[in-house]
């Protein structure tokens, strides 16, 4: 007999890792488009750049490790990592930010640990944290055009800014000439505002929140939420992690807000600003680095929500998802070990 003997089952779903990853990327599309709308061409350029570097790096490393290059690349996991880094870094950041981040993510965080399935940390988030710590200025320069100013900065202009290293001052000057909008993210603004002794209401009353800038972030979050819901519907991800993150963040934020409305952001602001939705649906759900059992995922998500709240409220960084996800990644094996489901035929007493 020439056929290869295979163990049962002889049937399999058509679902493949490749398709799964690709669909996840498609589901990120609404959020990406929203981001483009608010931040200009830079976002798209960064994403394209990051994906390209990611694939190139992965191919190079696989070659070095003498693994099948084509087949592994085609599982789309490197592309997804690139995409996530692309949307996470500021639209007008210089090109080498994306480059360093992606190379770090693929080379160090993923392949050095043994490639897909063996990494402990979420590559995109690990890279983001690395960049944030190493290049704080570039990583926080969210040059934020107002909705109306979307097309002010053309594609080529964006390209030249990213690649020719126009420093932030220039851009700022350029931008300031146009509409004079500040460039801090809402979370940043709140953080700075609170640290200067302003109450939340006062901060929110400031111009940056009123004329659509805050709205912009909310829209982006909503777009990612929509994409996430589609993923849930397609069963690309399970509901536990996202729900647990959002619920946990909501609960924590509500408690804080109820206790001290002046110094704590409200739960809605928490949910719809920063990277909340992106992280809850696209980053924390990365199966490789998350807990696997149902209960484990709930705990994992709740942990992330709690950490995000704590860091946002009391930590030094305005946004906290990258840190929270990495910390939770660390806990995932631990969680998995202790929340094994009760197997069939084993009594609950353990």
């Amino acid at each position: 007999m020439a056929f290869k003997l295979a163990s049962s089952p002889h049937l399999s779903t058509k679902a493949q890792t490749r398709g799964l990853m690709f669909k996840v990327m498609l589901c990120a599309l609404p959020g990406v488009l929203a981001q483009c709308y608010f931040f200009g061409w830079g976002t798209l350029i960064q994403i394209a750049l990051a994906i390209a570097i990611a694939i190139a790096t992965e191919a190079a490393v696989l070659k070095l490790r003498a693994r099948p290059v084509g087949k592994t690349i085609s599982d789309n996991s490197a592309a997804l990592t690139g995409l996530l880094i692309g949307v996470a870094i500021p639209a007008m950041a210089p090109w080498w930010i994306a480059g360093i981040g992606v190379v770090f993510a693929i080379l160090v965080v993923k392949q050095l640990y043994g490639g897909l399935g063996n990494n402990i940390f979420n590559p995109a988030m690990a890279a983001y944290v690395m960049l944030l710590i190493s290049f704080p200025v570039q990583m926080t320069s969210w040059v934020a055009p107002s909705g109306a100013a979307l097309n002010d900065l053309g594609f080529l202009q964006s390209l030249s800014i990213i690649f020719q290293g126009a420093d932030a001052e220039q851009i700022l000057a350029y931008r300031a000439g146009i509409d004079g909008v500040t460039m801090a993210t809402p979370l940043d603004a709140v953080k700075t505002g609170l640290s200067t002794g302003l109450t939340l209401d006062e901060i929110l009353a400031k111009a940056s929140f009123s004329d659509g800038f805050g709205i912009g972030w909310a829209v982006i979050n909503l777009a990612y939420l929509a994409g996430g819901l589609v993923m849930l519907k397609l069963k690309l991800i399970r509901w536990q992690i996202s729900t647990a993150i959002l619920a946990s963040l909501f609960v924590c934020a509500s408690i804080g807000y109820l206790l001290s409305p002046d110094t704590h952001m409200g739960p809605l602001l928490h949910l719809f600003s920063g990277a909340t939705m992106l992280a809850a649906f696209f980053i924390a759900t990365d199966p490789v680095t998350a807990a696997t059992s149902t209960r484990g995922r709930l705990i994992f998500g709740a942990l992330i929500g709690l950490l995000v709240y704590l860091i946002r409220s009391f930590g030094g960084y305005p946004d906290a998802f990258a840190f929270a996800v990495l910390l939770a990644n660390l806990c995932a094996p631990f969680i998995d070990y202790y929340v094994k489901p009760r197997a069939y035929g084993h009594r609950a007493s353990r």
């Binding site: 007999m1 290869k4 003997l5 295979a6 163990s7």
Partner: protein
């Protein structure tokens, strides 16, 4: 001065307290015997073959506990050696025996050649050979540990060590490792 005395008294009390605690713990969690020997023995295959140079598995386990090398048990194979290495906290070493000796075998007596001398019966460490003087002997396969000890004493060389074959019971699902032979060509029907 009184401070010094207080300090000394305090320290003395502390020492007493901890001493009592340690003494209690030593009594409470006392380990009977040397568990390492038992553990090592539990890992050994109990063939009692003496290929390690010791007259049985227990003596070898005792020797291991006293620092003997862990790679002297051919019947246990590499798996046993690795477990022993883990138990003793030493580095695994290649076995002293060749791979060929690690295949599980059982003794088989060619019965028409057996003269009934009972020598193999005396040599068998696990009483797995059945027979009496001048009567044909045979090996109880289920009890045979494959230790090889009966082969040497046989005056007529009628004992073979036969590798244990693969049966439906011990087949290990190595699907594509099976040498697939097309039996249908050979069979007559």
């Amino acid at each position: 001065m009184s401070q010094v005395i207080i300090a000394i008294i305090l320290l003395g009390l502390l020492a007493l307290a901890f001493g009592a605690l340690l003494g209690y713990a030593a009594e409470k969690f006392k380990v009977e015997g040397d568990p390492i020997i038992d553990q090592a023995e539990a890992l050994l295959p109990q063939t009692q073959c003496g290929q390690c140079g010791y007259p049985g598995c227990r003596p070898y386990a005792e020797a291991i506990a006293n620092g003997e090398k862990i790679n002297k048990c051919p019947p246990g194979g590499t798996a046993t050696m690795e477990k022993l290495a883990e138990l003793m906290g030493v580095d695994p070493e290649p076995l002293t025996a060749s791979a060929e000796t690690q295949v599980k075998k059982v003794a088989f007596i060619r019965e028409d050649e057996c003269i009934g001398c009972t020598k193999c019966i005396q040599a068998c460490p696990v009483d797995a050979i059945l027979g009496t003087g001048k009567q044909m002997h045979t090996v109880i396969t289920d009890y045979c540990t494959g230790c090889d000890l009966c082969v040497e004493p046989c005056p007529v060389d009628c004992i073979d060590m036969i590798p244990v074959g693969e049966t439906l019971h011990n087949w290990s699902w190595q699907l594509n490792a099976i040498p697939v032979v097309n039996i249908s060509e050979e069979s007559k029907c």
